[in-house]
């Protein structure tokens, strides 16, 4: 066995290890998220409640009704939502970084999230109740807002007569974000004390108090968006050498670019709609994964999902327990914990690169 094949098998081992580690990390994080809270419920009971409610399996009697309520109607959807939002944001971030060939890109770069935020803020400010959708009004309007923002970015890029150039997309996104950000600030400035607190808290992001309804709203967007992106891993790889080069490889660059943008925007828009703008996850998790697996999107995309999901579950766990009974905004935790971890990994990597 020559040296190169040893290296190859070792790099395969790293990959398999990464999948196993990420999967286990995700599972343990979810379990921990269900377990730790102000009311302690034993693990067997938790498992029983979940299995009974999901697939009707029952072997234990006399589990108190209120415990079942806490686990099934409050904690479980919360953990699942954190998991899916984390996965969605990380996947979207990885795709945006690959597509825009910019390490600073994240799910919020091209303005979709701003559109969704504006939609939500409008709902909160004007107390909109859309066609009797009730509490659903907010996410629905937010998703529409995100979609409108994406269309404006596409329109600006097309009208600039440069054929969907990456730089134009980024610039258009930044312009849209800035403009919408100003409108949101304006609304905050003119709103009442109570509205202002509500809006600001919403903008900081949270996965709490959402329940199954929001999860049901989110899942379809998640499935479609994730499927679109996961099927484009080869295109994202090919785009790393520039669009002209990708076109020479037989890629229909314009079409693929729009597909990837739509997929990533579905994930982002829906995430912001149900949980506000949670920062840091979509920017850093893909970089973290790349540090270990290398840049091949075949692995970066699924591993970002697993790692991002687990990460956000843990972040939410810390956010709601550290100063219990009060809750911290989840975005505070994602950055406070994530930034140092990422910094250490980055420095260790560059240190290794030098030696």
């Amino acid at each position: 066995m020559d040296k190169s094949s040893i290296r190859k098998s070792s790099s395969n081992r790293i990959l398999i290890g990464m999948y196993i580690f990420s999967g286990a990390f995700l599972f343990l994080a979810a379990l921990l998220g269900l377990l730790v809270s102000s009311v302690t419920v034993p693990v067997p009971s938790i498992i029983h409640i979940i299995l009974q409610n999901s697939i009707g399996l029952s072997w234990m009697e006399d589990i108190p009704r209120n415990l079942e309520m806490i686990i099934w109607n409050i904690r479980f959807p919360r953990v699942l939502l954190a998991l899916f939002i984390g996965a969605a944001l990380s996947l979207a971030g990885a795709a945006f970084q690959g597509l825009l060939r910019n390490p600073l890109a994240d799910p919020y770069t091209i303005g979709v999230s701003s559109g969704a935020s504006l939609g939500s803020v409008l709902v909160l400010y004007f107390q909109i109740n859309l066609l009797g959708l009730g509490s659903f009004s907010l996410p629905v309007v937010a998703i529409i807002g995100g979609f409108v923002a994406l269309m404006i970015v596409f329109g600006m890029t097309r009208l600039s007569n440069r054929g969907m150039a990456i730089e134009t997309i980024i610039l258009a996104g930044i312009i849209i974000s800035a403009f919408i950000g100003a409108i949101v600030s304006l609304i905050i400035a003119i709103s009442s004390q109570e509205d202002m607190r509500q809006i600001l808290y919403w903008l900081m992001g949270s996965v709490g108090m959402r329940g199954w309804s929001h999860l049901q709203l989110f899942i379809p967007f998640f499935l479609i968006g994730a499927a679109i992106l996961l099927l484009h891993h080869r295109e994202l790889n090919a785009l790393a050498m520039g669009e002209e080069s990708a076109q020479h490889l037989g890629l229909d660059v314009k079409k693929r670019k729009i597909w990837i943008l739509v997929g990533a925007s579905l994930l982002t828009g829906a995430s912001v709609a149900v949980s506000g703008s949670i920062g840091f996850v979509g920017l850093v998790i893909p970089h973290l994964v790349r540090l270990i697996t290398g840049p091949n999107h075949r692995h970066v995309l699924p591993l970002s999902m697993l790692t991002g999901g687990a990460y956000l579950v843990l972040a939410d766990l810390i956010a709601r327990t550290i100063i219990a009974p009060k809750e911290l905004p989840i975005g505070v935790i994602t950055a406070l914990v994530g930034a140092p971890v990422f910094a250490i990994l980055l420095m260790r990597r560059f240190g290794r690169g030098k030696s």
């Binding site: 190169s4 290296r7 190859k8 790099s11 690959g98 060939r101 007569n161 099927l231 080869r234 790889n237 090919a238 790393a240 050498m241 520039g242 002209e244 080069s245 076109q247 020479h248 490889l249 037989g250 890629l251 229909d252 790349r290 290398g294 840049p295 091949n296």
Partner: protein, 491 residues
């Protein structure tokens, strides 16, 4: 293989390429040449579809380009440009694997064993398998370009489009790269269509070339159309002299900067020279480099030189390595070998004859040493014999004029005619055959010109310069042989 008909297009509304038609044949190396902005890259982009066509038609292997899907096109045609920007640190193998994109089918499009085999093959052709796990961005320019070529070959194309693939490469890597391509072209019937900047490189590697100017094709043909100096000067706006590669039947071009002419303020032509003479060497040193043609031991053929040496050797000189001997002697005297024309003679150097003819144009200076012990009649029937006695005629002729290469050859003819006439008039006999000789067995001749003034293509007996140099050589040779005969008579 690629048929381009009435192709027009450009950036936005600006039409860079206008109504261009040509055909690249299957299995040939076709080079597109022309100055910056002539539309070379635009033609490429119109063919690959990066830019939209405004008119015309492109056919690939008999099929219209518009009828082919993107992946069908990519399976037939690969492109190699000078790009080397890669986002994220992909490894070499991952980059080469990108070339398999158009071949991967199915919903999940996973890597097949066929893909892996093609990647291995093209990596080994391009000699990049050694650093397959190295990040692409850490490679040198030459290595990067080889990896990109491997990626293009992994596409298994029938046509390879190259947009200045050797732009950032040094000479060695340029030739490595092109040798690789040429080999692949010849063994696998790959059609290569390249944009090249270096005309000399294009001449060496291309089978046919197209000259492009202002979006129009000026001429298409074999690389020998590069011999048309006027045409090249019109296309590129640079003074061009075409010559030939000394070992390969391909044209090579020489480009001239705008330089000042040699000043003519000096007294006479002969004052340009400085003569140093001792019993071992006659050393003439010119203030300016002179264009030379000679059969000297050092500096043979066409060259440029400042130093002109005629070394004396003993008649029993062991001539196993005369070039190295002259090199040593020059080094001892501190004369630069690379700027010297060196000859040898067994004749006593004090019998040298130096004559000048000063005039307004074509002033001449002749420096001759002569011995006729080895006089030979070249027309008589006798086997050539080894040198028997002292005796050779070494002629150095300096002309103040601009002679083309052809005129230099013509001047050699004229000089030889004059020398032969002397031998005839003095009844020098070939001792072996008893007939009148035509020269000696080892005559050396140098013609050196200042190359100032208007170039002349002729120096035969029908021209001023031919006549003048003939007369001068006749007189000088006659005197030199006279001196030699006097000395040998004494002995």
């Amino acid at each position: 293989m690629i048929k381009v008909e009435r192709l027009s297009g450009g950036y936005g509304k600006e039409q860079v390429v206008d109504n261009v038609s040509f055909e690249v044949r299957k299995g040939e190396f076709f080079a597109l040449l022309g100055p910056n902005g002539s539309g070379k890259s635009t033609i490429f982009k119109l063919i690959t579809g990066v830019l939209p066509r405004l008119g015309g038609e492109v056919e690939l292997d008999g099929k219209s380009m518009t009828a082919l899907s993107m992946t069908e096109k990519a399976r037939m045609l690969a492109v190699l440009t000078q790009e080397e920007k890669v986002f994220f640190d992909f490894t070499v193998e991952e980059i080469v694997m990108l070339g398999r994109y158009p071949h991967q089918r199915g919903f999940l499009k996973s890597i097949s064993s066929e893909d892996q085999a093609a990647v291995e093959r093209s990596m080994s052709i391009c000699k990049v398998e050694l650093y397959r796990y190295k990040p692409f961005i850490e490679l040198s320019g030459g290595e990067k370009q080889r990896v990109l070529l491997a990626k293009a070959l992994a596409q298994e194309p029938q046509v390879l489009l190259l947009d200045e693939p050797t732009n950032h490469l040094d000479i060695r890597h340029t030739f490595d790269m092109l040798n690789l391509l040429k080999e692949w072209q010849q063994t696998n019937e790959l059609t290569v269509f390249a944009i090249l900047h270096d005309l000399n490189v294009a001449s060496l590697y291309a089978d046919r070339v197209a000259l492009l100017k202002d979006g129009q094709i000026i001429e298409i043909g074999s690389v020998h159309i590069l011999r048309k100096e006027k045409q090249l000067e019109e296309v590129y706006g640079v003074r061009v002299n075409s010559g030939s590669h000394p070992e390969i039947a391909k044209p090579q071009l020489f480009l001239s900067p705008n330089t000042e002419e040699i000043s003519t303020s000096d007294g006479g032509f002969s004052t340009m020279f400085e003569l140093n003479r001792d019993e071992n060497v006659i050393h003439l040193r010119s203030r300016h480099s002179l264009r030379t043609i000679s059969n000297g031991v050092i500096g043979e053929g066409l060259s440029w030189a400042k130093h002109f040496c005629n070394f004396h050797v003993d008649k029993n000189y062991n001539c196993s390595d005369p070039q190295q001997d002259i090199r040593n002697w020059l080094e001892e005297r501190g004369i630069p070998v690379e700027e010297t024309i060196g000859m040898m003679t067994a004749v006593q150097l004090e019998d040298m004859v130096m004559l000048t003819h000063e005039a307004n144009d074509y002033s001449c200076l002749a420096v001759i040493t002569a011995g006729v012990g080895n006089a030979v009649d070249i027309s008589a029937e006798a086997e050539p014999e080894i040198i028997r006695r002292i005796g050779t005629i070494n002629t150095m002729l300096f002309i103040d004029g601009h002679l083309t290469d052809g005129a230099l050859v013509n001047a050699m003819l004229s000089a030889t005619e004059a020398k032969t006439k002397v031998i005839h008039d003095m009844h020098i006999i070939d001792k072996l055959t008893g007939t009148i000789a035509t020269g000696t067995s080892t005559d050396s001749l140098l013609i050196a010109c200042t190359q100032r003034g208007i170039p002349t293509p002729y120096a035969g007996s029908g021209t001023v310069v031919g006549k003048r140099l003939g007369q001068l050589i006749y007189q000088a040779t006659k005197q030199a042989i006279g001196k030699y005969q006097k000395r040998t008579a004494k002995v």
